[in-house]
């Protein structure tokens, strides 16, 4: 008689062996990773009725599409294969991840370490950087999400990015290559530390070359010190066999600014957890995103901004265009704690459904304990404005062009915080191409 293993057990089945194979007994990381696995066991995968994953039955999706064996996937990608995908930005850092592992040899790092440190997130990095050692896996509630815990257990060679005090840094691009002839489960991890007065700009993009299913469980943690600025942008134009559960966890200190942009176009199931913790005064937190979907793509955006201290500002704008059988989920939480007087927090989620079979589930949530605040939220869902289409057509603009013009304008609002012209142009081109 064989015992029936839970999905959690199956995911952790090879963990001990894997851990012993990759880490020495004295490794600090080993202890952290063990704790991650324990934590995952304790949290378990989201249950069927989990509120946080209500419209994305993620556990079922994983059980149905993956054999749950976790092993490192070999890839035949060469350095020049990877380099050929780099953005044409010479004066920038280009970081390559293959199947979730940071490959320093394939990367091009030009920033001086006195400005921007970019290194493998391993034992050495942990021993050299106390800010990493004490915060890894701990930033802003990342310890309460089972996927963040699973990533902490299984990530191997993530990247640590540290902007030194008062440095205004070059662009850093992260390319995630998912490549393999078999099912791939990957655990990329990025830790960004912005020291006082620094500026860091990171753009992440993924290339998928395998045809088999892939499961990307990715975590970005960011500590933004006083008066620092961190910008993190993701371009998610995956394939129909790509499953992705991604977390961005940011913690902000006083006078700091944190920006995220997420542009989602394609994938099987994509879940974005974006959580910002504003734990000091005079901070700005920005979350912007666009999901423009077709086919059966399912994109779930789960955001939270937690105002713990007074005089801060947060703004969130997500736009959705849903065609064919696609589905989007948006859940945006704003917390304004009792101490967070004079908070300004705004949230907006607007959706256009282009077909009768597309679905959106949107839920803004505000929880406000302070009494002297300005907060607003709103979500809209509708079809295209026929009156506007007629107006444009009556001026000689052909029907499909009129629709594209209106949808493009609608989508472009979500690009307002994008400063990188190269990435912005690419996103604009994808938007336009999808409108054809």
């Amino acid at each position: 008689m064989s015992e029936v293993l839970t999905t959690e057990d199956q995911l952790l089945a090879g963990f001990e062996g894997w851990l012993n194979q990759h880490f020495e007994a004295s490794s600090s990381l080993k202890t952290i990773k063990k704790a991650g696995a324990e934590n995952f066991k304790k949290l378990g995968l989201p249950a069927r009725k989990s509120e946080a994953y209500k419209y994305t039955p993620i556990t079922k999706v994983i059980e149905k599409n993956f054999d749950l064996k976790i092993s490192e996937s070999p890839s035949s990608l060469t350095k020049s294969d990877c380099e050929s995908k780099f953005y044409a930005d010479e004066d920038a850092n280009h970081l390559v991840f293959i199947n979730g592992i940071f490959v320093e040899d394939y990367s091009k790092i030009i920033s001086a370490s006195s400005e921007l440190t970019i290194k493998v997130l391993d034992d050495q990095a942990i021993n050299e950087h106390s800010e990493l050692k004490s915060n890894l896996g701990q930033v802003n509630g990342s310890q309460v999400d089972p996927f963040a815990a699973l990533n902490l257990a299984y990530f191997n060679q993530g990247v640590f990015i540290r902007a030194e005090k008062n440095t205004d840094n070059k662009n850093t691009y992260i390319y995630q290559f998912i490549d393999g002839t078999e099912q791939t489960v990957l655990f990329p991890r990025v830790f960004v530390y912005g020291a006082t007065g620094s500026r860091t700009k990171i753009y992440e993009k993924t290339f998928i070359s395998g045809k088999e299913n892939s499961l990307n469980i990715s975590i970005v943690e960011s500590m933004v010190e006083s008066n620092a600025e961190v910008r993190y942008t993701k371009l998610q134009n995956y394939t129909n066999s790509a499953y992705s559960i991604e977390g961005i966890y940011a913690h902000q200190d006083k006078d700091s600014r944190f920006y995220t942009n997420t542009f989602s176009f394609k994938g099987a199931v994509v879940r974005n957890n974006i959580y910002i913790n504003i734990d000091a005064e005079n901070c700005e937190g920005h979350m912007n995103g666009l999901y423009q979907l077709s086919g059966k793509t399912h994109v779930d955006t789960n955001t939270s901004v937690d105002h713990l201290k007074p005089h801060s500002y947060s703004n969130e704008l997500y736009k959705g265009i849903l065609d064919e059988n696609s589905r989007a989920v948006f859940n945006g939480k704003i917390y304004v704690r009792p101490d967070a007087q004079k908070t300004n927090a705004f949230q907006s989620n607007n959706n256009i459904l282009l077909s009768d079979t597309a679905t959106i589930n949107t839920k803004p949530q505000l929880e406000i304990w302070a009494d002297d605040v300005q907060c607003s939220h709103g979500c809209t869902t509708g079809q295209m404005d026929e009156e506007a289409i007629f107006y444009l057509r009556s001026r000689g603009i052909e029907k499909t062009n009129a629709k594209a013009l209106l949808l493009n304008a609608f989508a472009n609002e979500a690009l307002s915080e994008m400063q990188n012209e190269l990435v912005k142009e690419e996103v604009e081109a994808i938007i336009l191409n999808k409108l054809k």
Partner: protein, 251 residues
């Protein structure tokens, strides 16, 4: 140029136009007047090709073509222009970008070369003077947050840019103060020529002091019940619409 013959149209099963006959020739200005709910705006919408109206009977011939067969954009390419009673606000699209697309698609449909950025701007500057419209307004999103007067001015500006053969002004005077009215009317008059024609739909005679019509038609209960010259408009201003209603009732 335009011949409307026994036109019947309905919306959501409700008959609005019940047998309109109207002929408009090049160089003419026709005013369509009438009490509220008589079908004036419906007539304007049907001419421009608004899709929610159903044509039950009759025909519209424009420059020898069956106008009802053409999509709204094809009508625009053929030179039909509707100045909206309520111009639509379109966030995120600047007037300049929108007009460049509109002008160039129209030019291409008419077998002309698309204007490059420089010639387009030059053309725009010239036409801006006609309606005294500000550059700053045109770089803003189309009609978004514009005042009533600014919206109407923008309609006439678009008309100037698209150089229509047949312009239909739907209650262009509504919501305008007297100064804005003069500017708008002045623009329309400057665009008038021997080869184009206008249909001015209005509730009040006021606009017709500035855009002087060659013919005035009174629309009531979906039909043109009386036609005359500009003196008919003055008579309506003086006596209201009741005497028309009585005349119709007496028939």
């Amino acid at each position: 140029m335009l011949k409307i013959d026994n036109l019947h149209a309905s919306v959501e099963g409700k008959s609005i136009l019940k047998g309109i006959n109207l002929e408009v020739n090049a160089g003419e200005v026709h005013a369509i007047m009438g009490p509220n709910g008589s079908g004036k705006s419906t007539l304007a919408s049907v001419l421009a090709g608004r899709e929610e109206y159903e044509i039950e009977e009759g025909s519209i011939t424009y420059q020898g073509k069956d106008l009802l067969e053409l999509a709204p954009e094809e009508r625009a390419h053929a030179g039909v222009f509707l100045a909206f009673q309520y111009p639509v606000e379109i966030p995120g699209v600047s007037t300049t970008n929108f007009l460049k697309t509109a002008v160039n698609q129209t030019r291409e449909a008419r077998g002309l070369k698309a204007l490059d950025a420089v010639s387009f701007l030059k053309e725009m500057k010239e036409k801006m003077k006609l309606v005294d419209i500000d550059q700053a307004l045109l770089s803003r999103a189309l009609n978004e947050g514009f005042s009533g007067g600014e919206k109407k001015r923008n309609e006439i500006f678009q008309m100037a840019m698209l150089e229509p053969t047949l312009s239909i002004l739907d209650e262009t005077d509504s919501g305008l103060d007297i100064d804005a009215l003069k500017v708008v009317a002045d623009g329309v008059n400057k665009l008038k020529g021997p080869n184009n024609a206008s249909i001015v739909v209005t509730h009040y005679q006021r606009l017709l002091d500035y855009i002087v019509p060659d013919f005035v038609h009174v629309l009531y209960k979906g039909k043109i019940v009386k036609s005359g010259d500009k003196s008919l408009a003055l008579e309506l201003e003086d006596k209201g619409y009741d005497w028309i209603k009585e005349e119709v009732a007496a028939l």
